[in-house]
């Protein structure tokens, strides 16, 4: 197994310096994510204005994969519309899906498809136990978006 494909520089950077930890400027929608098996936790707040996520606040505790995924996600979704986020989420999950052939989520030609830093997480797919860690922030996001409706 290629550990260095998993523990990339950018992942460790987001793990150690998570972005968007400051509280929201105004009350928004909240969701908690929790992986009871490994104890990863995420607490997410978002502000949705006119279908666009204008602010994100995310704090958590857990492994490098869950926390870096959360941090990278917070950057990727800020300023995006619901539709764009849905697209992004789909691509991210496809990237994590062991059943998907190749780098299905990563085709840079498809509009708005580039996952950016998040692509660093593609190594996780080779470590199936850890996929849940990478997905945690995203499932929590879906919940928060539901709340915000």
């Amino acid at each position: 197994m290629a550990l260095d494909e998993l523990y990339r520089e950018v992942i460790l950077d987001h793990y150690r310096n998570p972005r968007n930890r400051q509280p929201l400027g105004a009350p928004g929608a909240h969701a908690d994510g929790h992986n009871p098996l490994c104890g990863d936790e995420i607490s997410l707040d978002i502000l949705v204005v006119d279908d666009t996520v204008t602010e994100v606040s995310i704090v958590g505790r857990g492994c490098s994969i869950s926390q870096s995924s959360a941090s990278m996600m917070s950057e990727a979704i800020k300023g995006k519309t619901r539709a764009e986020i849905a697209e992004l989420t789909g691509r991210f999950k496809a990237m994590m899906d062991i059943d998907t052939e190749g780098d299905a989520g990563l085709d840079p030609d498809r509009p708005g498809s580039v996952l950016g830093d998040l692509e660093a997480l593609q190594g996780v797919r080779k470590f199936p136990v850890r996929i849940k860690c990478a997905n945690l922030a995203w499932t929590t996001l879906e919940e928060a978006l539901g709340e915000a409706k």
Partner: protein
């Protein structure tokens, strides 16, 4: 130093490779691997003597019943019970403790009564008591740990009084390795209350010779799968006079004497507590595991554990940024070592070790109250059984160095 490396050949799984590395199994505290004699005993039984027990007037059923009752006798001897009737087969430690809480607990607790636990209990010895406390109005009280990671006996002394009806403690912590001084604890409990003392022996019984005549407990629970036996079976031992008085926690076949439409009466102990078809092949597998442990000798196992633990503590001590959780006095602990490594999350440690074929556990180890007490959310944990050796510890240490380097932790 006790060398048990010749036993490795009895464990087929150790011949398997994971990603080009031979399996190095350091998670026996979660569940131990099984030697061939255990697997063969079950397989042979299914192939040549299988039938349901107790109810058949034919040869196969009689043979199955004898093997099942032989297993009870063997387990009784293993922990020096006064009689095989003191051995109740359950699904595992968890079911044994739940049975106790919902039968003994429910029948003996009322509002204002107290149940005393320690701060280092496994969820199996926490949640059942929360449930019965809620139903009865009894109260849970936790005895804190000393800075040396053992039960604080002074705190215990000031906690035990006549309100305490149940004291339920681990015989060996699955996180810290701590083996609390049960006889001393028992003396305190007896002197200051009429509480029953329950020992969660899930970790203790697979590793340390236990004699229920001197243990000082009223009940003892343990699981086969952690003592080289199969899944699906565990044991509740109890003092005969307590089992006698206790109501069954399940009703059904084999546990009855008479069944009328609206009332039933119970069979004698232990049948009273074994409703339904029991884990028959599993009992036979457990007996084979007990036999296997006895052949090695529990004393040899204990000194093997001590040797490995001492070596592991020593080698782990050399790894920068590593923090160990557990007693430093080797005599009061078993072969379980928990640690954290700088800001490398235990889950990441486990993944890195796994890529080298090494299985360790990472997480809260079903001991969230303890984790909160230690101020961590998770630890990594390596634990040993007879098939481990110093070479496994060496491999672990190498893996931890790789983890440090992958996470860019600086030397010194």
């Amino acid at each position: 130093m006790t060398n048990l490396s010749h036993l490795r050949r009895d464990f087929p799984i150790l011949r398997r490779e994971v990603e080009g590395h031979p399996v190095i199994f350091l998670d026996s505290a979660a569940s131990a691997q099984k030697p061939i004699p255990v697997l063969d005993a079950m397989d042979r039984f299914y192939r040549s003597q299988y039938a349901n027990v107790h109810r058949g007037a034919y040869r196969l059923s009689q043979e199955a019943t004898e093997l099942y009752e032989d297993a009870r006798r063997r387990v009784a001897r293993f922990i020096n019970a006064g009689s095989p009737d003191e051995i109740i087969f359950t699904k595992g430690t968890t079911t044994a403790l739940n049975g106790l809480s919902s039968s003994w607990g429910y029948d003996h607790l009322e509002a204002g009564d107290r149940i005393v636990l320690s701060m280092m209990e496994h969820h199996a010895n926490v949640v059942p008591w929360q449930l019965v406390a809620k139903r009865t109005g009894a109260e849970l009280v936790y005895v804190p740990l000393t800075t040396g990671y053992d039960i604080d006996l002074d705190a215990l002394r000031s906690t035990i009084d006549s309100r305490v009806k149940i004291v339920s403690l681990t015989g060996m912590s699955n996180v810290l390795g701590t083996i609390p001084p049960m006889q001393q604890i028992s003396d305190i409990v007896r002197a200051q209350s009429e509480a029953v003392l329950i020992v969660d022996g899930a970790q203790l019984v697979p590793h340390v010779e236990v004699d229920v005549q001197t243990l000082g407990a009223d009940f003892l629970a343990f699981s086969a799968h952690k003592m080289l036996g199969p899944t699906g079976i565990g044991v509740l031992w109890g003092k005969p006079e307590l089992l006698e008085e206790m109501e069954p926690w399940e009703g059904g076949g084999e546990m009855i004497s008479t069944v009328d439409l609206y009332e039933s009466t119970w069979a004698p102990v232990p049948q009273k507590f074994e409703a339904g078809t029991p884990p028959i092949a599993e009992a036979i597998g457990l007996a084979a595991a007990v036999h296997y442990l006895e052949e090695i000798g529990m004393n040899a196992i204990r000194s093997h554990d001590l040797d490995l633990t001492e070596y592991a503590l020593h080698r782990l001590g050399e790894v920068p940024d590593l923090v160990q959780y557990g007693p430093t006095d080797i005599k009061s602990r078993g072969g379980v070592v928990s640690f954290t490594l700088g800001d490398v999350h235990p889950h990441d440690i486990a993944t890195i070790l796994d890529s080298r074929g090494i299985s360790v556990r990472a997480g809260h180890h079903c001991a969230k109250p303890l984790m909160a007490d230690l101020g961590v959310t998770a630890t990594a944990r390596a634990s040993f059984h007879v098939y481990n050796g110093r070479d496994d510890v060496d491999a672990l240490i190498e893996g931890l160095h790789e983890a440090r380097s992958l996470f860019g932790l600086s030397e010194g």
